[in-house]
């Protein structure tokens, strides 16, 4: 038997923008085990509900993670609204949906870029990030912020989009879809990309369910499950089906994410067509009393928001289970048996968001 050795990986590592630490147990070049240790970005945000009231906390919730910021704001607001029994206007729900879907496009393009970079495909990385700038410009135009744009509030949204803005989003989406075409083709059909990704880090359907994978990770393993099917916000009115991969390898996860971008484009277009007129928020009276579990689909998978109110303006407890938290056990499973050189790429395929995970 080969001699076992342990290689520390991270926290500051060239391929990882965020600090995460793994102890990799190796036999020669093959990984036989991985012990993750997290906590480098732990700030203690959940505890902050005791210091900020439930309306102020929206801004903290949005800063749980910079990439899916809008989604976290929406998840928190929806959970508080359900506790308080507030019915928000349909237009606000549509606006939230449009912004969240735009966030998904930006998050997936960012991930595809990072994947290309991890493969050593520098020009593809640049292409993805160039395309992503268009979405950021639209955020800038509609909300005034590029990354963190506080548009959600308890009871609706803070900013409205007029007809010209909605048309501009539609045009951008149409244009982006055309420009995405060659990038998609490269990711899905290119010979060298397939050679790099096919058969790498296979997670079987059974293992994916057993280990509790969520999001594109779960769908890549062939499980047809998307939290958006629950029909929160405006998703109930929109036409969508989960995008499912077959092989459960790195390629399948890449394909699922690439095709989800097009799906998001379609959802944005449909939402723009169907958006009703009306107010964008309702006044909020009283304080939350009771508890609620809210589930929403973030770009990385299912996120759970638990809110417990005690009748004062400070919440008793806010709990957030983020997609990366549930994707770490399947990642550890998947790392077993791979080569040391593939580890950075495989960690990337779960689309880790350490900031969400540790809060």
């Amino acid at each position: 038997m080969a001699k076992r050795s342990i290689v520390p990986f991270g926290p500051q590592h060239p391929v990882l923008p965020e600090p995460v630490h793994l102890d990799l147990v190796l036999e020669d070049e093959t990984v036989v085990g991985a012990i993750p240790s997290i906590g480098f970005i732990h700030r203690g945000l959940e505890k902050l509900v005791e210091k900020k009231d439930f309306k102020q906390y929206v801004y903290i919730a949005e800063r749980v993670c910079g990439i899916c910021s809008c989604g976290h704001g929406m998840g928190y607001c929806e959970s508080v609204e359900r506790v308080m029994g507030i019915e928000i206007p349909r237009r606000a729900e549509y606006l939230r949906t449009i912004w969240v879907e735009m966030s998904r496009v930006h998050s997936h393009l960012l991930w595809l870029g990072l994947l290309a970079d991890a493969m050593g495909f520098e020009s593809l990385f640049m292409e993805c990030w160039r395309l992503r700038e268009k979405i950021l410009d639209m955020f800038d135009r509609t909300t005034g912020g590029r990354i963190i744009f506080s548009v959600n509030c308890v009871g609706g949204v803070l900013k409205d989009m007029d007809g010209a803005m909605l048309r501009a989003i539609r045009e951008t989406v149409d244009q982006m879809e055309q420009e995405l075409e060659p990038i998609m083709t490269t990711f899905i059909k290119d010979y060298s990309v397939q050679l790099r990704l096919r058969g790498l880090g296979i997670l079987s359907r059974e293992q994916a369910i057993l280990q509790g994978a969520v999001g594109p990770m779960l769908r890549g393993s062939g499980v047809e499950y998307d939290t958006r099917m629950l029909g929160y916000a405006a998703y109930g009115d929109l036409d969508m089906e989960p995008i499912v991969g077959t092989d459960g390898d790195a390629y399948a996860r890449c394909e699922v994410r690439a095709r989800e971008i097009v799906q998001s484009f379609n959802l944005i277009r449909e939402a723009i067509d169907k958006i009703p007129q009306g107010p964008i928020s309702v006044p909020v009276k009283g304080n939350p009393q009771g508890e609620y579990f809210m589930r929403i689909e973030q770009p990385r998978g299912e996120a759970i928001y638990y809110t417990k109110g005690n009748g004062t303006k400070f919440l008793d407890r806010f709990r957030l289970r983020t997609p990366t938290t549930s994707n770490i056990p399947p990642m550890v499973e998947m790392l077993k048996g791979c080569q040391l050189g593939d580890v950075p790429l495989l960690i990337l395929t779960i689309d880790p968001c350490i900031s969400c995970t540790e809060r």
Binding site: P17, L48, V64
Partner: protein, 149 residues
Amino acid sequence: MGKISKSPWLLHYDASSCNGCDIEVLDCLTPKYDIERFGIINTGDPFQADILLITGGVNSQTEAVVRQLYGQMPEPKVVVAVGICACTGGVFKECYNIKGGVDTVIPVDVYVPGCAARPESIIDGVIRALAILDQKREQLKKKKAPGRA
């Protein structure tokens, strides 16, 4: 901005940021902003870096890492705190695990505010850091000169 005497290498570390500033730092490398036109390269190796770019406030876990990275960088070096959390602690100031801005642990030369800091302001901060880097190099030379003679 005058002539840059050297192509500076940049080390980025996420102390406890929400990712927002990190992706904006990465954004600086991409076609729209393209920081490489100033000769700046993002490196992962502290031993070869001139500029340390830190995002996010410092917490108890990352404190040691930040100190270590700073210690491993050769003189002269400059530190740029990107984003309001790195400057003062920002919205996370009241969190139990946040010590405050980066300057509570290591000396900071340039502060770039914003939540998230926009790529334009990050680039501006780095360019200002370059001027400070040149100054520090001059000082270092003056200090060394008597010893050599």
